[in-house]
């Protein structure tokens, strides 16, 4: 910008408000201190004890919340509904899974250097794409690089030819579907139907201990909070404002002299990388990754978490992920046949009656309350 803008832009909002920061700190303390103490040091009989089951469940849901956050960046703030985030999630998970498979070493059923499924397929050496799976550092890089590169290439071609709206959604779904078929094959070297499981250790340390589970839990919680800050910083920057402009009127943005391509491509790639990280955190906690994670249903569910919580609010998707998955783990135990009715009804109800999600609902109620009190005061 060489000439000063004649319009006075409003000052950027602070990263977080004062109460926002305090809530953030509280969340950080809960994740890093309270949960470990309740799980590890409070005796199992106590009412305050956090069971291992709850830790595993919350850890899993926090991974989903990261996905929902990533979905919100691309859907809530940029208006692009992706049905391919399940793929990026699974890709991150697979990269992590490959590393964990190599960590099994010779402890598999066949006592071979190679992962069991390769012995089963009578392979003699690792395929080329397993070359970096022995190194933890390379794995950490690949967790973001693989989804990032695939998203970048796909997004570049898609956004360049101005595919948008439902077309883009359907094309991403096709991409995910194609990838799922590919991963189902035995000869692609990803374990086929069964995927990867039976992990033993990570960084040489056993995986199935309480301490390791807690470590992963804390790691996931911290990642979620850091990503939340990052997303907050992104959407309130100038970059984020252009994204929202693209969402609301892409043609006008173009006429104003912006090319939407780099903006969309950047946020799309960042969103995919976040999903990859979520997948990588998810796999060691759940202990399995298979191509079922790429099914169309999973990707659409991510969208529903975001929608239930409230799009275009960053806290909404996280809340949504907790609500929907909490309900899922409760309903699939107590009344498994009702779970799909509930989920289906949730899809319909949210789109029809709660366009702004739970967070929008809460805001509305607050506003109404304020109005009532204001009306009553004079």
């Amino acid at each position: 910008m060489t000439t000063p803008s004649p319009i006075q832009l409003p000052a950027p909002a602070p990263l977080l408000t004062r109460s926002g920061w305090s809530a953030f700190i509280v969340a950080l303390i809960v994740v890093c201190a309270v949960a470990p103490v309740l799980n590890l040091w409070v005796p199992a009989g106590s009412a305050f004890h956090l069971s291992d089951y709850a830790v595993a469940l919350l850890g899993k849901i926090m991974c989903y919340a990261i996905c929902a956050l990533a979905m919100d960046l691309i859907w809530g703030y940029t208006g692009i509904l992706s049905l391919g985030h399940g793929l990026f999630f699974a890709l991150g998970g697979y990269v992590m899974g490959m590393y964990l498979m190599r960590q099994i070493g010779r402890d598999g059923n066949y006592k071979s250097d190679l992962p069991d499924f390769m012995v089963f397929l009578d392979w003699k050496e690792l395929p080329w794409h397993w070359a970096l799976s022995d190194s933890f550092v390379a794995t950490l890089i690949l967790i973001v690089a693989v989804p990032g590169v695939i998203a970048f290439v796909f997004g570049y071609f898609a956004f360049r030819s101005r595919i948008k709206g439902v077309y883009f959604s359907i094309i991403t779904q096709a991409m995910t579907y194609a990838a799922m078929l590919l991963f189902f094959r035995n000869e692609t070297g990803f374990g086929g139907n069964n995927g990867f499981t039976d992990f033993k250790r990570i960084l040489g340390m056993p995986l199935a201990t309480q301490n390791m589970r807690m470590t992963l839990f804390v790691l996931t919680g911290v990642t979620l909070l850091v990503f939340f800050l990052l997303a907050r910083w992104l959407v309130r920057s100038k970059f984020g404002r252009v994204l929202q402009a693209v969402r609301d009127a892409e043609t006008r943005v173009m006429f104003s002299g912006y090319s939407p391509l780099p903006y969309k491509l950047t946020i799309w790639t960042i969103s995919a990388m976040m999903c990859g990280v979520a997948g990588a955190l998810y796999v060691p906690q759940v202990g399995i990754i298979n191509p079922g994670e790429m099914s169309a249903a999973n990707s659409i569910e991510i969208a529903v978490w975001a929608a239930v919580g409230g799009r275009a609010t960053l806290i909404g998707p996280i809340v949504g992920a907790f609500i929907v998955n909490g309900a899922k783990s409760w309903l699939t135990v107590t009344a498994p046949e009702f779970w799909l009715y509930f989920l289906g009804a949730l899809f319909i109800a949210v789109t029809l009656f709660l366009p702004d999600g739970v967070v929008g609902l809460v805001k509305k109620l607050k506003k109404n309350n304020n109005k009532k009190t204001e009306g009553a005061a004079p």
């Binding site: 509904l81 991409m175 094959r185 659409i300």
Partner: protein, 559 residues
């Protein structure tokens, strides 16, 4: 006659060394062929002299066929069928059905607990010491083969044709005299040619090099996949260079012809898949293409049509078992109505609130699809249900030796075309079609002209849903019917609509058929899964080039 040949090698336990003698007898062609041809000529002469065919079966021959050492019985059987007559045929059939008893000097055919003489047909008393006939598997195989051979000489053309069909894989030289005889008697040109082909196949293994040469040259005109196997086998054993060259030439010719059949078969399965995609996509072309509603529950509406067909099958089984074959005809309108009704309910209750918000529609209809799947699971169970083809849809039409078109596929192609014609007519020629087009092109103006746009929306959506029901009805005839039925077609069908272009029926047709054929051709080349991936990648690339599909609607709309 695979059954007969197999049983010859199978033998039965306890036969010991005979098991090996059996095959040997038939693998030493000169002795056997000479013997049987001498016999057949001898008996033919006798017959000519006597000019009475009905008495070719003798009491001794019948006894010899019915009991004794298996090899001897087979030899007797071979002799008898070289000069067949009605009595022989009836007797062999009776033996095949175990309806024969044996006494010390003759065989008696049993029927309704009474004994009949196999030669004269007169009723005879059954002695108390008469034993039941004992047939091992090998013997049964021989009976079947003998009956098939005898049919070759039947005066009825249809019977001869079935007999020749049964013999098309035959390579046993023992059959040669019979085939020669049938060939001499055959008047039908087409059957003659087929008999000649069978003879050539047998002669290809002849010990006479000139015979083999002739056979190889003859076989070059064949298009039978079995011929290729025979030629390949002989090529491996062949010593004579001249014959070898002839066989090689014949093999090339046959393979060329076979390739045509295979290509046509791939084309047909492609068209068949394309017609199914077309049926699936036609409904979408209306709801998505014309109305712009992303209906992720489209697959579930198909599922409802398929289950409606299943219910109709049950109703016919229960109440009209006599007319069971026609249940499918009744199921077509029922499937249409069931899905259309469900579609109308969905439009009224959910979708009409979401017009102009495609992404929300996508999520809401996905929710509907989940609920419908669960509903079907609750009502019908999570397992697939069985839907039978009616009798008139089973079987197929044989176009080439290695190209058979199954009736159910042919009928579905025709059905898809009929539905297409119906939809095209409805959209372009009727009042409802006019309203639908009007409302989709310009809703406010259509409304100003007095069109009840909300009602038109409901009708149009119900129509698209009903077509999905028809697709489900058709799918129930070729695939599994289960709660997941819709899921497996939804990606494909959206691809068809996207590829064909929104708002286009013609585009949908070309895209569906094109994708079907492309998919099947790639499948023959790379395998099913890779073919599917290749097609998806192709579509993604294609959309890059032409984001509006094959046939883009020209316009100046901008948001």
């Amino acid at each position: 006659m695979p059954a007969a040949r197999q049983s010859r090698f199978r033998g039965i336990p306890g036969l010991g060394s005979r098991m090996f003698r059996g095959p040997l007898l038939f693998q030493t062609p000169p002795a056997c062929a000479m013997l049987s041809s001498i016999f057949s000529r001898l008996i033919a002469c006798l017959l000519l002299c006597a000019a009475v065919q009905a008495h070719a079966l003798t009491v001794e021959a019948a006894r010899a066929m019915a009991s004794g050492d298996t090899d001897e019985r087979i030899a007797a059987l071979q002799q008898a069928i070289a000069t067949p007559d009605d009595a022989t045929l009836a007797f062999i059939r009776a033996m095949g059905e175990d309806a024969v008893k044996i006494t010390a000097d003759k065989a008696i055919v049993m029927k309704d607990d009474k004994g009949y003489d196999p030669v004269s047909g007169a009723e005879v008393p059954v002695p108390d010491d008469a034993e039941d006939i004992v047939n091992n598997n090998r013997m049964r195989g021989e009976f079947d083969a003998a009956l098939a051979s005898l049919q070759l000489l039947s005066p009825d053309v249809a019977q001869r044709r079935t007999a020749i069909d049964a013999l098309r894989e035959e390579t046993d030289e023992a059959r040669l005299p019979l085939i020669e005889k049938a060939l001499a008697a055959e008047k039908d040109v087409a059957l003659q040619a087929r008999l000649e082909a069978i003879r050539a196949r047998i002669l290809l293994a002849s010990s006479d090099a000139s015979q083999r040469l002739k056979a190889a040259q003859y076989l070059a005109t064949s298009g039978n996949p079995g011929t290729r196997t025979v030629l390949l086998e002989q090529l491996r054993n062949e010593q004579d260079p001249q014959v070898k060259a002839a066989i090689q030439a014949a093999l090339t010719a046959v393979e060329g012809r076979l390739q045509w059949g295979e290509k046509l078969a791939a084309l047909f399965t492609g068209i068949s898949l394309g017609s199914i995609l077309l049926l699936v996509a036609l409904g979408l072309a209306i709801t998505y293409g014309l109305m712009g509603v992303i209906n992720m529950a489209h697959g579930e509406l198909m599922m409802i049509g398929a289950y409606a067909t299943y219910v109709m099958q049950g109703v016919f089984q229960r109440y009209f078992p006599g007319a069971f074959d026609w249940y499918l005809v009744a199921a077509v309108p029922v499937a249409f109505m069931a899905s259309a009704l469900m579609g109308a309910v969905l439009e009224r209750s959910v979708i009409r609130f979401l017009y102009g918000r495609p992404l929300e529609t996508l999520l809401a209809t996905w929710g509907i699809s989940l609920m419908l799947q669960q509903l079907v699971r609750t009502v019908f169970g999570a397992q697939n249900v069985g839907v039978e083809n009616p009798a008139w849809m089973s079987g197929g039409v044989q176009l080439m030796e290695n190209l058979q078109l199954p009736w159910n596929r042919v009928i579905i192609v025709a059905f898809a075309l009929a539905v297409l014609a119906g939809v095209a007519f409805l959209i372009s020629k009727t009042r409802l079609g006019l309203f639908v087009r009007g409302v989709t092109q310009n809703r406010p103006i259509a409304s100003c002209m007095g069109v009840n746009t909300a009602r038109v929306d409901t009708y149009a959506f119900a129509l698209g849903s009903g077509i999905a029901g028809l697709a489900g009805c058709a799918l129930s005839q070729v695939g599994n019917v289960g709660p997941d039925l819709g899921q497996s077609y939804i990606v494909d069908s959206f691809m068809v609509v996207v590829l064909g272009g929104v708002g286009q029926l013609a585009g949908t047709v070309y895209a569906a058929l094109g994708l079907g054929v492309l998919n099947k051709f790639l499948e023959g080349w790379t395998g099913a899964v890779l073919a599917k991936i290749a097609v998806l990648v192709f579509i993604i690339i294609f959309i890059q080039k032409r984001p509006q599909g094959i046939f883009a609607v020209k316009g100046r709309t901008a948001d």
